[in-house]
Amino acid sequence: MGLSVSASTGIVLISLILIFGTLYPAIQKSEDMKNDAREEWLDWREEKQQAGMNITEVRYEDHELNITLTNTGDTIMDIRELEVMLNGNYSTDKIEDQVVDEEIENTNIWNPGQKLTLSLENVDEDINRVAIVNEFGSIIYHSMESD
């Protein structure tokens, strides 16, 4: 009787160690994974909140539309990731030229405080609304009805 009790107790104890040894690392690993992802996301949110831009000028001339933007935030933005919507239609593929601070042409980096001019070609005459989307999905609008 005594031997069987201690034997089964031993088995139970070993199993408890096995169970704990499986669950504990799994829980720890998943918590780490979640925390890392959350931290990364919070960084992204912070950048998104600090990002800001402004449409300074929109000029239409002979099927060419020049949009001048200023990076008013504190985040460096990627010019390739900007999207242009004209009258609600996707028009990013009409961008022919991008100039930062009226002189730098071969860059995709748009630093805080810098001016960016986007030149779009084959633009219809009746455009009266411009929307610019940045890499974070924030949108700014410009209406030209007053023109």
């Binding site: 009787m1 139970v12 996707y90 990013t92 593929d93 999905g137």
Partner: protein, 161 residues
């Protein structure tokens, strides 16, 4: 003559208790293994939720709608890290879900997949969308990561036609 009988009962007792203990604990250990798998899978999904981001970039003033074909156009930008699964997108227009065949998803620019930063044009066939009314569109997407489907995100837009 008493001794062998007693040790035989004891032997049976011993074996029975060990067998019972092993089988019970085997079941518990098995459950623990399965459970730890589930925990990790859930965590992977939750972590992926943070990396799957979609944003509807339509100008709410000018949402393209073709009344003849009943085609509503939504532009959605992948602002997350993971690629999005086009086939798993779900668009809810005024509470009515539209998926798979009812959606026509085309990538804009030179991208072929819905990767980070790329924009998809989603055409939804919604007949008789009333003009001079407010409408609401909800978009739900799923991310793909190494062949697994992971993470979800959604975005919505309200507009007046």
């Amino acid at each position: 003559m008493k001794m062998p009988g007693r040790s035989a009962t004891e032997m049976i007792w011993f074996m029975v208790s060990v067998i019972v203990a092993i089988s019970l604990m085997g079941v518990f250990v098995g459950i623990a293994y399965q459970y730890s798998d589930t925990i990790q899978q859930n965590a992977r999904g939750e972590a992926a939720d943070y990396k799957v981001n979609v944003e509807i970039i339509n100008d709410p003033r000018d949402v393209p709608y073709d009344d003849e074909d009943g085609e509503l156009t939504i532009y959605a930008k992948n602002t997350g890290t993971y690629e999005l699964d086009k086939d798993q997108s779900l668009v809810i227009v005024n509470g009515e879900p539209h998926a798979e065949d009812e959606l026509e998803i085309e990538m804009m620019g030179d991208s072929s997949a819905w990767t980070q930063g790329s924009v998809a044009r989603i055409n939804i066939t919604v007949e008789n969308l009333e003009e001079n009314q407010d409408h609401r569109v909800n978009l739900e997407v799923q991310g793909i990561f190494q062949g697994e489907r992971l993470g979800r995100d959604s975005d919505s837009i309200k507009f007046h036609l």
